[in-house]
Point group: C2
Chain length 227, copies 2
DNA sequence: GTCTATATGTAGATAGAC
DNA sequence: GTCTATCTACATATAGAC
Protein backbone atom coordinates (compact mmCIF):
# COMPACT_ATOMS: atom_id res chain seq x y z
CA UNK A 1 0.00 0.00 0.00
CA UNK A 2 2.54 2.61 1.13
CA UNK A 3 5.99 3.16 -0.32
CA UNK A 4 9.02 1.42 1.09
CA UNK A 5 10.04 2.60 4.51
CA UNK A 6 12.52 5.50 4.11
CA UNK A 7 15.85 5.35 5.92
CA UNK A 8 15.69 6.98 9.37
CA UNK A 9 16.35 10.70 9.21
CA UNK A 10 19.01 12.28 11.42
CA UNK A 11 16.27 14.01 13.40
CA UNK A 12 14.60 10.73 14.25
CA UNK A 13 16.01 10.35 17.73
CA UNK A 14 12.88 9.05 19.38
CA UNK A 15 13.04 5.57 17.97
CA UNK A 16 11.19 3.27 20.35
CA UNK A 17 10.57 -0.41 20.21
CA UNK A 18 7.10 0.15 18.77
CA UNK A 19 6.46 -2.46 16.10
CA UNK A 20 6.56 -1.27 12.54
CA UNK A 21 3.48 -1.36 10.36
CA UNK A 22 4.96 -4.19 8.37
CA UNK A 23 5.72 -6.23 11.45
CA UNK A 24 2.19 -5.79 12.71
CA UNK A 25 0.88 -6.82 9.33
CA UNK A 26 3.05 -9.94 9.31
CA UNK A 27 1.85 -10.94 12.75
CA UNK A 28 -1.77 -10.37 11.75
CA UNK A 29 -1.43 -12.16 8.43
CA UNK A 30 -0.04 -15.15 10.27
CA UNK A 31 -3.04 -15.16 12.59
CA UNK A 32 -5.44 -15.01 9.65
CA UNK A 33 -3.71 -17.75 7.71
CA UNK A 34 -3.40 -19.91 10.81
CA UNK A 35 -7.08 -19.54 11.54
CA UNK A 36 -8.00 -20.66 8.06
CA UNK A 37 -5.64 -23.62 7.91
CA UNK A 38 -6.25 -24.82 11.47
CA UNK A 39 -9.97 -24.77 10.76
CA UNK A 40 -9.56 -26.59 7.46
CA UNK A 41 -7.06 -29.25 8.50
CA UNK A 42 -7.03 -29.37 12.27
CA UNK A 43 -4.14 -28.51 14.57
CA UNK A 44 -1.90 -31.40 13.57
CA UNK A 45 -2.92 -31.28 9.93
CA UNK A 46 -1.82 -27.67 9.44
CA UNK A 47 1.94 -27.10 9.35
CA UNK A 48 3.60 -23.85 10.28
CA UNK A 49 5.27 -24.00 6.90
CA UNK A 50 1.95 -23.88 5.10
CA UNK A 51 0.64 -21.23 7.46
CA UNK A 52 3.67 -18.99 6.89
CA UNK A 53 3.49 -19.57 3.17
CA UNK A 54 -0.23 -18.71 3.05
CA UNK A 55 0.54 -15.54 4.99
CA UNK A 56 3.32 -14.59 2.58
CA UNK A 57 5.80 -14.82 5.43
CA UNK A 58 8.82 -16.85 6.44
CA UNK A 59 8.65 -19.98 8.54
CA UNK A 60 10.82 -18.37 11.16
CA UNK A 61 8.36 -15.52 11.59
CA UNK A 62 5.92 -17.81 13.35
CA UNK A 63 8.27 -18.41 16.23
CA UNK A 64 9.38 -14.80 16.24
CA UNK A 65 5.93 -13.21 16.35
CA UNK A 66 3.87 -15.85 18.09
CA UNK A 67 6.31 -17.96 20.04
CA UNK A 68 5.58 -21.24 18.31
CA UNK A 69 2.76 -23.34 16.96
CA UNK A 70 0.86 -23.91 20.20
CA UNK A 71 0.71 -20.29 21.27
CA UNK A 72 -0.18 -19.31 17.71
CA UNK A 73 -3.17 -21.62 17.93
CA UNK A 74 -4.19 -20.25 21.27
CA UNK A 75 -3.94 -16.67 20.03
CA UNK A 76 -6.08 -17.52 17.02
CA UNK A 77 -8.83 -18.80 19.28
CA UNK A 78 -8.42 -16.00 21.77
CA UNK A 79 -8.85 -13.22 19.25
CA UNK A 80 -12.30 -14.45 18.21
CA UNK A 81 -13.40 -15.69 21.61
CA UNK A 82 -12.81 -12.31 23.23
CA UNK A 83 -14.74 -10.39 20.62
CA UNK A 84 -17.59 -12.89 20.52
CA UNK A 85 -17.84 -13.06 24.29
CA UNK A 86 -18.27 -9.31 24.45
CA UNK A 87 -20.89 -9.32 21.71
CA UNK A 88 -22.86 -11.99 23.54
CA UNK A 89 -22.80 -10.18 26.85
CA UNK A 90 -23.81 -6.97 25.11
CA UNK A 91 -26.71 -8.75 23.43
CA UNK A 92 -27.79 -10.17 26.76
CA UNK A 93 -27.73 -6.77 28.42
CA UNK A 94 -29.58 -5.17 25.57
CA UNK A 95 -32.31 -7.79 25.87
CA UNK A 96 -32.46 -7.27 29.59
CA UNK A 97 -32.80 -3.52 29.14
CA UNK A 98 -36.22 -4.10 27.66
CA UNK A 99 -37.47 -4.53 31.17
CA UNK A 100 -39.47 -7.60 32.00
CA UNK A 101 -38.30 -11.16 32.55
CA UNK A 102 -36.26 -12.60 29.70
CA UNK A 103 -37.68 -15.51 27.79
CA UNK A 104 -35.56 -18.60 27.19
CA UNK A 105 -35.62 -17.79 23.49
CA UNK A 106 -34.25 -14.32 24.22
CA UNK A 107 -31.36 -15.72 26.23
CA UNK A 108 -30.49 -18.28 23.57
CA UNK A 109 -30.81 -15.64 20.91
CA UNK A 110 -28.26 -13.48 22.70
CA UNK A 111 -25.87 -16.41 22.65
CA UNK A 112 -26.49 -17.71 19.16
CA UNK A 113 -27.28 -14.72 16.97
CA UNK A 114 -24.10 -12.70 17.47
CA UNK A 115 -22.17 -15.67 16.14
CA UNK A 116 -24.50 -16.53 13.28
CA UNK A 117 -24.59 -12.93 12.15
CA UNK A 118 -20.81 -12.80 12.02
CA UNK A 119 -20.62 -16.20 10.32
CA UNK A 120 -23.17 -15.24 7.68
CA UNK A 121 -20.95 -12.48 6.35
CA UNK A 122 -17.43 -13.61 7.04
CA UNK A 123 -15.82 -16.92 6.17
CA UNK A 124 -13.21 -16.52 8.88
CA UNK A 125 -15.97 -16.29 11.46
CA UNK A 126 -17.69 -19.28 9.95
CA UNK A 127 -14.48 -21.26 10.24
CA UNK A 128 -14.09 -20.22 13.87
CA UNK A 129 -16.83 -22.64 14.90
CA UNK A 130 -14.66 -25.49 13.69
CA UNK A 131 -11.91 -24.35 16.03
CA UNK A 132 -14.35 -24.16 18.91
CA UNK A 133 -15.55 -27.66 18.12
CA UNK A 134 -11.95 -28.90 18.09
CA UNK A 135 -11.19 -27.27 21.43
CA UNK A 136 -14.43 -28.40 23.03
CA UNK A 137 -13.89 -32.00 22.00
CA UNK A 138 -10.25 -32.33 23.02
CA UNK A 139 -9.01 -32.41 26.59
CA UNK A 140 -5.65 -31.38 25.23
CA UNK A 141 -7.05 -27.85 24.95
CA UNK A 142 -8.74 -27.91 28.32
CA UNK A 143 -6.91 -24.77 29.44
CA UNK A 144 -8.28 -22.88 26.45
CA UNK A 145 -11.84 -23.94 27.22
CA UNK A 146 -11.49 -22.90 30.82
CA UNK A 147 -9.90 -19.56 30.14
CA UNK A 148 -11.80 -18.47 27.04
CA UNK A 149 -15.13 -20.30 26.94
CA UNK A 150 -16.20 -21.13 30.47
CA UNK A 151 -16.73 -17.57 31.78
CA UNK A 152 -19.27 -16.69 29.09
CA UNK A 153 -20.85 -20.14 29.25
CA UNK A 154 -21.26 -19.77 33.00
CA UNK A 155 -23.09 -16.47 32.62
CA UNK A 156 -25.58 -17.93 30.16
CA UNK A 157 -26.09 -21.08 32.21
CA UNK A 158 -26.86 -18.90 35.23
CA UNK A 159 -29.28 -16.87 33.15
CA UNK A 160 -31.11 -20.00 32.02
CA UNK A 161 -31.03 -21.45 35.51
CA UNK A 162 -32.84 -18.35 36.76
CA UNK A 163 -35.72 -19.23 34.44
CA UNK A 164 -36.03 -22.71 35.97
CA UNK A 165 -35.66 -22.19 39.71
CA UNK A 166 -36.71 -25.74 40.44
CA UNK A 167 -34.13 -27.36 38.13
CA UNK A 168 -30.64 -28.42 39.10
CA UNK A 169 -27.87 -26.35 37.62
CA UNK A 170 -26.16 -29.50 36.40
CA UNK A 171 -29.22 -30.41 34.35
CA UNK A 172 -29.12 -26.98 32.76
CA UNK A 173 -25.44 -27.37 31.99
CA UNK A 174 -26.13 -30.62 30.15
CA UNK A 175 -28.73 -29.03 27.90
CA UNK A 176 -26.47 -26.05 27.36
CA UNK A 177 -23.71 -28.30 26.03
CA UNK A 178 -26.24 -30.05 23.79
CA UNK A 179 -27.31 -26.65 22.47
CA UNK A 180 -23.78 -25.44 21.83
CA UNK A 181 -23.09 -28.67 19.94
CA UNK A 182 -26.14 -28.14 17.80
CA UNK A 183 -25.07 -24.57 17.09
CA UNK A 184 -21.56 -25.63 16.15
CA UNK A 185 -22.93 -28.27 13.79
CA UNK A 186 -24.36 -25.43 11.72
CA UNK A 187 -20.80 -24.61 10.76
CA UNK A 188 -19.00 -27.95 11.02
CA UNK A 189 -21.66 -30.13 9.39
CA UNK A 190 -23.60 -27.87 7.09
CA UNK A 191 -22.34 -29.92 4.19
CA UNK A 192 -23.92 -32.99 5.82
CA UNK A 193 -27.20 -31.15 6.23
CA UNK A 194 -27.09 -30.31 2.56
CA UNK A 195 -26.45 -33.91 1.61
CA UNK A 196 -29.15 -35.34 3.84
CA UNK A 197 -31.71 -32.75 2.75
CA UNK A 198 -31.77 -33.91 -0.84
CA UNK A 199 -35.14 -32.32 -1.54
CA UNK A 200 -33.93 -28.78 -1.05
CA UNK A 201 -30.47 -28.25 -2.53
CA UNK A 202 -28.99 -24.93 -1.55
CA UNK A 203 -31.74 -24.11 0.92
CA UNK A 204 -29.23 -23.63 3.72
CA UNK A 205 -26.51 -21.81 1.89
CA UNK A 206 -27.65 -18.76 3.78
CA UNK A 207 -26.74 -19.41 7.35
CA UNK A 208 -29.47 -17.12 8.60
CA UNK A 209 -31.99 -19.69 7.44
CA UNK A 210 -30.82 -21.91 10.27
CA UNK A 211 -31.04 -19.39 13.11
CA UNK A 212 -34.77 -19.61 13.79
CA UNK A 213 -35.02 -23.40 13.65
CA UNK A 214 -31.93 -23.66 15.83
CA UNK A 215 -33.25 -21.37 18.55
CA UNK A 216 -36.66 -23.03 18.56
CA UNK A 217 -35.00 -26.42 18.68
CA UNK A 218 -32.75 -25.56 21.60
CA UNK A 219 -35.35 -23.69 23.62
CA UNK A 220 -37.92 -26.42 23.38
CA UNK A 221 -35.32 -29.09 24.04
CA UNK A 222 -34.10 -27.36 27.16
CA UNK A 223 -37.64 -26.94 28.53
CA UNK A 224 -38.39 -30.62 28.00
CA UNK A 225 -35.11 -31.92 29.39
CA UNK A 226 -35.06 -29.90 32.62
CA UNK A 227 -38.71 -30.57 33.44
CA UNK B 1 -3.25 -68.36 25.44
CA UNK B 2 -2.41 -71.51 23.46
CA UNK B 3 0.99 -73.12 23.13
CA UNK B 4 3.35 -72.20 20.36
CA UNK B 5 2.31 -73.35 16.94
CA UNK B 6 3.74 -76.87 16.34
CA UNK B 7 5.80 -77.50 13.20
CA UNK B 8 3.68 -78.69 10.26
CA UNK B 9 3.28 -82.48 10.21
CA UNK B 10 4.13 -84.43 7.08
CA UNK B 11 0.47 -85.23 6.58
CA UNK B 12 -0.38 -81.52 6.40
CA UNK B 13 -0.59 -81.29 2.63
CA UNK B 14 -3.64 -79.08 2.43
CA UNK B 15 -1.91 -75.85 3.34
CA UNK B 16 -3.91 -72.98 1.85
CA UNK B 17 -3.37 -69.28 1.96
CA UNK B 18 -5.79 -68.94 4.84
CA UNK B 19 -4.42 -66.40 7.29
CA UNK B 20 -2.81 -67.86 10.35
CA UNK B 21 -4.23 -67.21 13.79
CA UNK B 22 -1.32 -64.97 14.56
CA UNK B 23 -1.79 -62.95 11.38
CA UNK B 24 -5.46 -62.45 12.15
CA UNK B 25 -4.56 -61.38 15.65
CA UNK B 26 -2.03 -58.88 14.36
CA UNK B 27 -4.54 -57.37 11.97
CA UNK B 28 -7.16 -57.14 14.73
CA UNK B 29 -4.74 -55.72 17.29
CA UNK B 30 -3.82 -53.03 14.81
CA UNK B 31 -7.48 -52.12 14.37
CA UNK B 32 -7.99 -51.91 18.12
CA UNK B 33 -4.90 -49.81 18.73
CA UNK B 34 -5.70 -47.56 15.79
CA UNK B 35 -9.21 -46.97 17.07
CA UNK B 36 -7.92 -45.93 20.44
CA UNK B 37 -5.17 -43.65 19.17
CA UNK B 38 -7.19 -42.09 16.35
CA UNK B 39 -9.92 -41.26 18.87
CA UNK B 40 -7.44 -39.85 21.37
CA UNK B 41 -5.26 -37.81 19.03
CA UNK B 42 -7.14 -37.45 15.77
CA UNK B 43 -6.13 -38.80 12.37
CA UNK B 44 -3.07 -36.61 11.91
CA UNK B 45 -2.09 -36.76 15.56
CA UNK B 46 -1.79 -40.54 15.65
CA UNK B 47 1.21 -41.99 13.80
CA UNK B 48 1.28 -45.47 12.34
CA UNK B 49 4.44 -46.01 14.35
CA UNK B 50 2.62 -45.42 17.62
CA UNK B 51 -0.33 -47.50 16.46
CA UNK B 52 1.90 -50.43 15.55
CA UNK B 53 3.80 -50.10 18.78
CA UNK B 54 0.60 -50.04 20.85
CA UNK B 55 -0.54 -53.16 19.01
CA UNK B 56 2.75 -54.91 19.68
CA UNK B 57 3.38 -55.08 15.96
CA UNK B 58 5.86 -53.77 13.43
CA UNK B 59 5.41 -50.56 11.52
CA UNK B 60 5.48 -52.45 8.26
CA UNK B 61 2.53 -54.59 9.32
CA UNK B 62 0.17 -51.65 8.96
CA UNK B 63 0.78 -51.42 5.24
CA UNK B 64 0.83 -55.19 4.89
CA UNK B 65 -2.46 -55.89 6.65
CA UNK B 66 -4.42 -52.71 6.06
CA UNK B 67 -2.90 -51.12 3.01
CA UNK B 68 -1.81 -47.89 4.65
CA UNK B 69 -2.94 -45.30 7.15
CA UNK B 70 -6.01 -44.05 5.30
CA UNK B 71 -7.56 -47.43 4.70
CA UNK B 72 -6.73 -48.42 8.26
CA UNK B 73 -8.73 -45.43 9.45
CA UNK B 74 -11.62 -46.27 7.19
CA UNK B 75 -11.66 -49.88 8.38
CA UNK B 76 -11.68 -48.75 11.99
CA UNK B 77 -14.78 -46.67 11.38
CA UNK B 78 -16.40 -49.30 9.20
CA UNK B 79 -16.18 -52.05 11.79
CA UNK B 80 -18.19 -50.08 14.35
CA UNK B 81 -20.52 -48.37 11.90
CA UNK B 82 -21.69 -51.66 10.44
CA UNK B 83 -22.46 -53.22 13.78
CA UNK B 84 -24.14 -50.10 15.13
CA UNK B 85 -26.21 -49.60 12.01
CA UNK B 86 -27.57 -53.11 12.34
CA UNK B 87 -28.36 -52.64 16.01
CA UNK B 88 -30.24 -49.44 15.25
CA UNK B 89 -32.31 -50.97 12.48
CA UNK B 90 -33.07 -53.93 14.71
CA UNK B 91 -34.19 -51.59 17.50
CA UNK B 92 -36.40 -49.73 15.07
CA UNK B 93 -38.03 -52.91 13.84
CA UNK B 94 -38.54 -54.19 17.32
CA UNK B 95 -40.28 -50.94 18.27
CA UNK B 96 -42.39 -51.16 15.15
CA UNK B 97 -43.38 -54.73 15.96
CA UNK B 98 -45.34 -53.39 18.90
CA UNK B 99 -48.03 -52.47 16.47
CA UNK B 100 -49.33 -48.93 16.51
CA UNK B 101 -47.75 -45.76 15.22
CA UNK B 102 -44.27 -45.06 16.58
CA UNK B 103 -43.78 -42.03 18.76
CA UNK B 104 -40.95 -39.62 17.99
CA UNK B 105 -39.35 -40.64 21.28
CA UNK B 106 -39.43 -44.28 20.21
CA UNK B 107 -37.69 -43.51 16.91
CA UNK B 108 -35.00 -41.44 18.61
CA UNK B 109 -34.60 -44.09 21.25
CA UNK B 110 -33.94 -46.70 18.58
CA UNK B 111 -31.20 -44.46 17.21
CA UNK B 112 -29.64 -43.30 20.46
CA UNK B 113 -29.93 -46.15 22.94
CA UNK B 114 -28.05 -48.85 21.03
CA UNK B 115 -25.04 -46.56 21.00
CA UNK B 116 -25.30 -45.34 24.59
CA UNK B 117 -25.71 -48.89 25.86
CA UNK B 118 -22.55 -49.95 24.07
CA UNK B 119 -20.69 -46.84 25.20
CA UNK B 120 -21.71 -47.30 28.83
CA UNK B 121 -19.89 -50.65 29.06
CA UNK B 122 -17.03 -50.36 26.62
CA UNK B 123 -14.43 -47.64 26.34
CA UNK B 124 -13.73 -48.49 22.70
CA UNK B 125 -17.37 -47.85 21.89
CA UNK B 126 -17.31 -44.63 23.86
CA UNK B 127 -14.30 -43.51 21.86
CA UNK B 128 -16.04 -44.35 18.60
CA UNK B 129 -18.23 -41.27 18.93
CA UNK B 130 -15.11 -39.15 18.69
CA UNK B 131 -14.31 -40.78 15.37
CA UNK B 132 -17.84 -40.15 14.13
CA UNK B 133 -17.55 -36.52 15.17
CA UNK B 134 -14.26 -36.23 13.29
CA UNK B 135 -15.72 -37.75 10.15
CA UNK B 136 -18.94 -35.74 10.34
CA UNK B 137 -17.07 -32.48 10.70
CA UNK B 138 -14.50 -32.96 7.97
CA UNK B 139 -15.24 -32.97 4.26
CA UNK B 140 -12.02 -34.88 3.80
CA UNK B 141 -13.94 -37.98 5.00
CA UNK B 142 -17.02 -37.25 2.94
CA UNK B 143 -16.85 -40.65 1.25
CA UNK B 144 -16.94 -42.36 4.65
CA UNK B 145 -20.01 -40.40 5.72
CA UNK B 146 -21.78 -41.23 2.51
CA UNK B 147 -20.97 -44.89 2.52
CA UNK B 148 -21.24 -45.71 6.22
CA UNK B 149 -23.50 -43.11 7.85
CA UNK B 150 -25.94 -41.79 5.29
CA UNK B 151 -27.91 -45.02 4.68
CA UNK B 152 -28.89 -45.42 8.34
CA UNK B 153 -29.41 -41.69 8.76
CA UNK B 154 -31.72 -41.67 5.76
CA UNK B 155 -33.88 -44.42 7.22
CA UNK B 156 -34.33 -42.56 10.49
CA UNK B 157 -35.00 -39.25 8.77
CA UNK B 158 -37.69 -40.95 6.70
CA UNK B 159 -39.16 -42.46 9.83
CA UNK B 160 -39.34 -39.05 11.51
CA UNK B 161 -40.66 -37.43 8.36
CA UNK B 162 -43.55 -39.88 8.40
CA UNK B 163 -44.56 -38.46 11.78
CA UNK B 164 -44.71 -34.92 10.39
CA UNK B 165 -46.40 -35.27 6.99
CA UNK B 166 -46.77 -31.52 6.64
CA UNK B 167 -43.07 -30.76 7.26
CA UNK B 168 -40.39 -30.54 4.61
CA UNK B 169 -37.86 -33.35 4.65
CA UNK B 170 -35.06 -30.80 4.62
CA UNK B 171 -36.34 -29.31 7.86
CA UNK B 172 -36.31 -32.77 9.41
CA UNK B 173 -32.77 -33.35 8.20
CA UNK B 174 -31.62 -30.16 9.92
CA UNK B 175 -33.04 -31.21 13.25
CA UNK B 176 -31.64 -34.69 12.81
CA UNK B 177 -28.14 -33.30 12.42
CA UNK B 178 -28.68 -31.13 15.50
CA UNK B 179 -29.72 -34.24 17.39
CA UNK B 180 -26.79 -36.33 16.27
CA UNK B 181 -24.46 -33.52 17.32
CA UNK B 182 -26.05 -33.42 20.74
CA UNK B 183 -25.68 -37.18 21.06
CA UNK B 184 -22.04 -37.09 20.04
CA UNK B 185 -21.34 -34.38 22.58
CA UNK B 186 -22.19 -36.89 25.27
CA UNK B 187 -18.96 -38.63 24.37
CA UNK B 188 -16.78 -35.84 23.01
CA UNK B 189 -17.62 -33.19 25.58
CA UNK B 190 -18.64 -35.04 28.72
CA UNK B 191 -15.63 -33.56 30.44
CA UNK B 192 -16.99 -30.09 29.60
CA UNK B 193 -20.36 -31.02 31.02
CA UNK B 194 -18.65 -32.12 34.20
CA UNK B 195 -16.75 -28.87 34.45
CA UNK B 196 -19.75 -26.66 33.78
CA UNK B 197 -21.97 -28.61 36.20
CA UNK B 198 -19.94 -27.69 39.24
CA UNK B 199 -22.77 -28.42 41.62
CA UNK B 200 -22.91 -32.13 40.82
CA UNK B 201 -19.45 -33.60 40.43
CA UNK B 202 -19.54 -37.11 39.08
CA UNK B 203 -23.24 -37.05 38.35
CA UNK B 204 -22.68 -37.94 34.71
CA UNK B 205 -19.95 -40.50 35.06
CA UNK B 206 -22.61 -43.04 34.21
CA UNK B 207 -23.47 -42.40 30.63
CA UNK B 208 -26.93 -43.85 31.09
CA UNK B 209 -27.81 -40.82 33.18
CA UNK B 210 -27.70 -38.77 30.00
CA UNK B 211 -29.93 -40.96 27.83
CA UNK B 212 -33.31 -39.76 29.10
CA UNK B 213 -32.50 -36.05 29.10
CA UNK B 214 -30.98 -36.42 25.65
CA UNK B 215 -34.01 -38.12 24.12
CA UNK B 216 -36.44 -35.67 25.70
CA UNK B 217 -34.26 -32.78 24.53
CA UNK B 218 -34.08 -33.99 20.94
CA UNK B 219 -37.71 -35.01 20.64
CA UNK B 220 -39.04 -31.74 21.94
CA UNK B 221 -36.53 -29.78 19.89
CA UNK B 222 -37.54 -31.53 16.70
CA UNK B 223 -41.25 -30.96 17.32
CA UNK B 224 -40.70 -27.26 17.90
CA UNK B 225 -38.35 -26.72 14.96
CA UNK B 226 -40.41 -28.46 12.29
CA UNK B 227 -43.68 -26.84 13.34
C1' DG C 1 12.17 -7.77 11.73
C1' DT C 2 13.37 -10.52 8.01
C1' DC C 3 15.60 -14.22 5.73
C1' DT C 4 18.74 -18.10 4.71
C1' DA C 5 20.49 -22.13 6.26
C1' DT C 6 20.46 -25.69 9.12
C1' DA C 7 19.71 -28.63 13.27
C1' DT C 8 17.10 -32.36 14.82
C1' DG C 9 13.32 -35.24 14.92
C1' DT C 10 9.55 -37.75 12.90
C1' DA C 11 6.33 -38.93 9.27
C1' DG C 12 4.48 -42.90 5.94
C1' DA C 13 5.94 -46.41 2.89
C1' DT C 14 8.59 -50.26 1.05
C1' DA C 15 12.58 -53.65 -0.37
C1' DG C 16 14.44 -57.67 0.69
C1' DA C 17 16.24 -61.06 4.15
C1' DC C 18 14.35 -64.40 6.98
C1' DG D 1 3.78 -62.92 7.73
C1' DT D 2 7.34 -60.83 10.11
C1' DC D 3 11.22 -57.89 10.73
C1' DT D 4 15.22 -54.94 9.76
C1' DA D 5 16.93 -51.31 7.41
C1' DT D 6 16.33 -47.61 4.69
C1' DC D 7 14.19 -44.13 1.46
C1' DT D 8 12.23 -39.73 0.93
C1' DA D 9 9.61 -36.21 2.60
C1' DC D 10 8.26 -33.09 5.89
C1' DA D 11 7.80 -31.48 10.70
C1' DT D 12 9.11 -27.50 14.41
C1' DA D 13 12.47 -24.70 15.82
C1' DT D 14 16.63 -21.72 15.96
C1' DA D 15 21.31 -19.43 14.83
C1' DG D 16 23.27 -15.86 12.73
C1' DA D 17 23.81 -12.76 8.58
C1' DC D 18 21.62 -8.86 6.82
Amino acid sequence: MTATKPPPAASERTRRRAASKRALATAANLLDAAERLFAERGYDGASVRDIASAAGAQVASVSFHHGGKETLFERVVERRASELGELRIAALEKARANGEQLSLEAVLSAFVRPYLEKAANDAQWLAYARLVAMVSADRRWRHISQRLFDPTAGIFIDEIAALFPEAKRSAIAVTFVFSVSAMLSVSTSRWRIEELAEDAPGEFLEIDALADPLIRYCASGIRAAVA
